[in-house]
């Protein structure tokens, strides 16, 4: 079954961003938000969903319009498209998930300048058909999400002792003298965790 699926080109397009072509840890794109929204797991997951939505839609639309967009103004067209999609995502979050939207603050808006989206539109969607672009969008969104979720997992677990807001580290451990690592909620921990993650991935790729 899996072997049969692996034959499709769309599978390859979908799976590569998850490992050897990971947008964050290999291609070094979209780092800003990967670091900023990872203090807790919940905002990180919401951010990934918003990002995957915008990325997939922009990929499909750019791909559908690829023969219509004049090449010398294509960046502006892409920016307008992406901004419109981000406005949609932002309005949706404000209407249905107000608390998370407040937590994410400006970072929803900053999806516009996330290099992954413009990068995929330029490098992939402008040259491929909508079906492949769709899978490329989903794959890159999840590849980006993978890093966010892992970093957020460690930062929330060690920084607050919770996961998704639920207490995970038992109170008895605190009584024995364990305490939360305050550093995890600050900026430096995010940088260092991503550095270590990239290290592990690089070693793993080389076998």
């Amino acid at each position: 079954m899996l072997r049969a699926i692996k034959k499709y080109k769309s599978y390859k397009v979908f799976a590569e961003p998850l490992s050897i072509q990971n947008p964050v840890s290999v291609l070094v794109l979209g780092i800003c938000s990967a670091l900023a929204v990872t203090i807790q797991l919940k905002p990180a997951i919401v951010m990934v969903l918003a990002m995957t939505f915008v990325l997939t839609c922009s990929n499909v639309i750019v791909s559908l319009l690829r023969n219509v967009i004049p090449s010398n103004i294509r960046i502006i067209v892409e920016m307008v498209l992406i901004s419109a999609l981000v406005i949609l995502a932002d309005q949706f979050l404000r209407a249905y998930m107000f608390d998370v939207s407040k937590q994410l603050s400006v970072f929803v808006g900053l999806i516009i300048t996330n290099c992954i989206i413009l990068g995929r539109a330029e490098a992939f969607a402008l040259a491929q058909n909508p079906w492949l672009s769709f899978w490329d969008g989903i794959g890159n969104g999840l590849g980006y999400g993978m890093i966010l979720v892992v970093v957020a997992f460690f930062r929330e677990l060690f920084g607050a002792g919770t996961l998704l807001g639920f207490q995970v580290i038992p109170p008895s451990l605190y009584e024995m003298g364990y305490s939360n690592m305050g550093m995890m909620v600050y900026a430096p921990a995010a940088f260092i965790l991503i550095g270590i993650f990239a290290w592990i991935q690089a070693e793993w790729r080389e076998g």
Partner: protein, 204 residues
Amino acid sequence: MADLVNLALTAIFTENMILALFLGMCSFLACSQNVKTAMGLGTAVTFVLTVTVPINWAINHFLLQPDALMWLGLPAGIDLSFLVFIAFIAVIAATVQILEILIETISPTLYNSLGIFLPLITVNCSILGASLFMEQRGYTASESVVYGFASGIGWLIAILALAAISERLKYSNPPKGLKGFGITMIVTGLMSMAFMAFSGIKFG
């Protein structure tokens, strides 16, 4: 006056664009290999931030805020604030274009040193980020000028420091998998830790 100085100090040190808010990381990582390039990019970013934040302030204040259009004699209750993203990014892209043309005619030497970095700046998230923070925190006109300039200086300091460290890193010998991206992130983390020591810095 003391308020403005404090705002500048916060924007440069405690809420440094890169080291505390993670904005503008992409170009920060791409252009931090030597000090000269870093200086060029940092100056360009400071320049664009100082210009775009006040312009976006004006756009937001006179056009987009709830009830902002009343000075045109339009009735109250018009709220265009959902357009901030698209308006800000359009202003930034346009400003960068105009600046490029202006600098080219006025000062060719400045253009030669900044030229290649200017187009890159449109998609630098620190520029859009500063404007969005300005909108969210409701800065006044003078505050937005100071905030734009100080954020730029903070960005410049961070990228210069990292570039200087990177020049030395070439001669160090980290584990193979850590080379490049990994070690840069860890060094940035240590720098960010050092910048945290500035918290509480205050004037007057």
